[in-house]
């Protein structure tokens, strides 16, 4: 009997083959390597791969562990011992991680093999992966478009069947938005659910690590492996971790589940095809038994402004450590210490990182702290209260993940504010510290003229993401709802034309 080529499998299906000893971890790795060598020259999702180290691990891994023998792609902001960790920045070009982040230690304990590092916006600052200082990653559904960001490399790799699953980080939407634009599943856990130890810090009160996968079940598998308290991260929550996979409801019934629809989310500028797909998804959830109720999140419109003051303030402090002394790039022959710092950082950082350091330094500076930073912290509290009130009535909140499908490479790079608005539905979730998931809910048709001289119209399907936001520590619930929705549709079976594997 024929089965799909190995790289086309999701983690759960791959794992059952491994457990039945129908394939070996080494065969899986070899098949993945061949796939990456075939497809990654087009997608450019990876920054570095160490197949030799991965092969050594594959020889000794226990396939009966929850993720035994499954290779996982890692965003290049997470330290994997002995591997580069560049954050797609020149300032860390030659850096090699001397230790494993806690999430990597946990993945290894579950039998997973972290084999490669994926592209991203420099220091996770961006929504398209175009701020990488190494290369451009392309959307597997349309190579002329962005994969989303900042975890665009992990998202594109998974969407192109060049990874079984990946880890990303989400500070304002950087897991959910690329998952939506690349047509896969992405989870932003509750703040403190997953350890940040060993993850290069961008905005410490917002950053969380989470999975990017082909299915909701796979996301639950990775969440179960990486969540939990870590004494090395004082913000990590000391709460038990449920088995998120066992808690997925297999009968797909959503009876008794109350889903809140915030009226503020149907904003101007939302793509009509995105709105139509999300409306249809809401009807589908209703047909599964969910009750749809109106909720209000009145401070939604302030989210972007609050986010860009707080995230840049925290970034300006966190990135002060890149001083060219203990690691990273150092400018040649500085004439004094100020010259050393100023040139090291000028040469090391790209435009978006510099812009955010300037804004963050400004909002924290004497005379402006109260007007910008402190006021933003107060409005953040109002946003948190909005969600608390909404969750008194609703078990989860439904919205689009992104107001638009994948945009063209270069389309938004000249206007940072336009790029910031890409996070309008996602970043309030980070500000409130709650959890969220994006799941594929349909496609937009793009009719872009690829060759104007011949007037050819190139019809591409662009994925649309549905976002479910849940209460703090209520990951199990949003995974259940997303799983029920996913299993009642065929969206997750669609593959980008590029990714089709001939058997």
């Amino acid at each position: 009997m024929s089965r799909p080529a190995l790289p086309a499998l999701n983690i759960a299906d791959l794992q059952s083959l491994l457990r039945r000893r129908e394939v070996s971890p080494r065969e899986v790795l070899d098949a993945l390597q061949a796939r990456i060598e075939d497809i990654d020259p087009k997608v450019e999702a990876y920054l570095s791969i160490d197949f030799e180290a991965a092969a050594r691990e594959a020889e000794k891994v226990d396939v009966d562990l929850p993720l035994g023998g499954v290779p996982i792609a890692i965003k290049d902001i997470i330290n994997v011992e002995g591997q580069p960790c560049t954050c797609a920045s020149k300032i860390l070009r030659n850096y090699r991680a001397p230790y494993d982040a806690t999430v990597i230690r946990k993945l290894r304990a579950a039998g997973a093999i972290p084999f490669g590092k994926t592209n991203m916006d420099e220091f996770a600052m961006g929504s398209s992966t175009e701020n990488s200082r190494v290369k451009l990653t392309r959307n597997p559904w349309d190579l002329s478009r962005v994969p989303g960001g900042s975890s665009g490399g992990s998202a594109a790799a998974v969407a192109a069947d060049a990874a079984f699953g990946g880890l990303g980080t989400d500070t304002g939407g950087s897991i959910r938005q690329p998952a939506a634009l690349s047509g896969i599943v992405g989870v932003k856990p509750t703040y403190g659910r997953v350890s940040r130890f060993g993850v290069v810090a961008f905005a410490s009160s917002l950053d969380q690590v989470g999975p990017l996968t082909k299915t909701v079940r796979d996301a639950a598998l990775i969440m179960t492996a990486i969540a939990g308290h870590d004494p090395q991260d004082s913000t990590s929550l000391n709460e038990p971790v449920p088995d998120y996979v066992a808690m997925l409801n297999s009968n797909g019934n959503l009876k008794g589940v109350r889903l809140g629809l915030p009226k503020e989310y149907m904003v101007e500028g939302i793509d009509p095809q995105v709105k139509a797909a999300v409306d249809a998804a809401v009807k589908q959830l209703q047909s599964l038994g969910a009750e749809i109720i109106d909720v209000s999140l009145p401070h939604t419109d302030y989210g972007i402004a609050v986010y860009y003051f707080l995230a840049t303030a925290e970034a300006s402090a966190n990135l002060a450590r890149f001083d060219g002394v203990r690691y990273g790039h150092r400018a040649e022959n500085p004439k004094d210490l100020l010259d050393h710092y100023g040139r090291t950082r000028d040469e090391g950082f790209g435009a978006e990182v510099k812009r955010r350091i300037i804004l963050g330094t400004y909002v924290l500076s004497s005379g402006y702290y109260d007007a910008y930073y402190l006021r933003a912290q107060k409005v953040r509290e109002l946003i948190r209260q909005d969600f608390a009130k909404a969750f008194e009535k609703a078990d989860a909140i439904v919205s689009p993940t992104s107001p638009v499908p994948a945009f063209k490479l270069g389309e938004r790079t000249a206007d940072p504010l336009q790029m910031y608005l890409a996070d309008i539905f996602t970043n309030t979730g980070n500000l409130a510290g709650i959890c969220g998931i994006s799941v594929l809910c349909g496609f937009a048709k793009s009719a872009s003229r690829t060759d104007s001289s011949r007037g050819e119209i190139d019809n591409k399907q662009l994925p649309i993401g549905l976002q479910l936001l849940g209460k703090a520590l209520d990951e199990a619930r949003i995974l259940q709802i997303a799983h029920a929705y996913e299993q009642s549709t065929d969206w997750h079976k669609a593959r980008p034309p590029l990714a089709k594997i001939e058997n």
């Binding site: 401070h299 300006s316 812009r355 500000l431």
Partner: protein
Amino acid sequence: MADPSDLDVAYVAKLARLNLTGEETCLFQKQLSDVLKYAAKLREVDVSRVEAAAHAIPVFNVFREDEPRDWFTAEQALSNAPHKANNLFIVTKVVE
């Protein structure tokens, strides 16, 4: 109340120990003024009775035993140093 026109990118860049070219300074001045104008909407919000929230889920008093444990060796700590000698980081001269 602060005004978007107060932003002086060249001055803030000095505070941030970040050299910028004249071109970058001009570009950021315009782009960040746009961001500040957009963010001026925060002035509409009545925050007079709101306590600032630094964290969404506050965790207080996280202590651990003050016990020695194994961590990096000097060699590991120096493994990424741009300039090192005799098990030490070599830095740019700080005092004359």
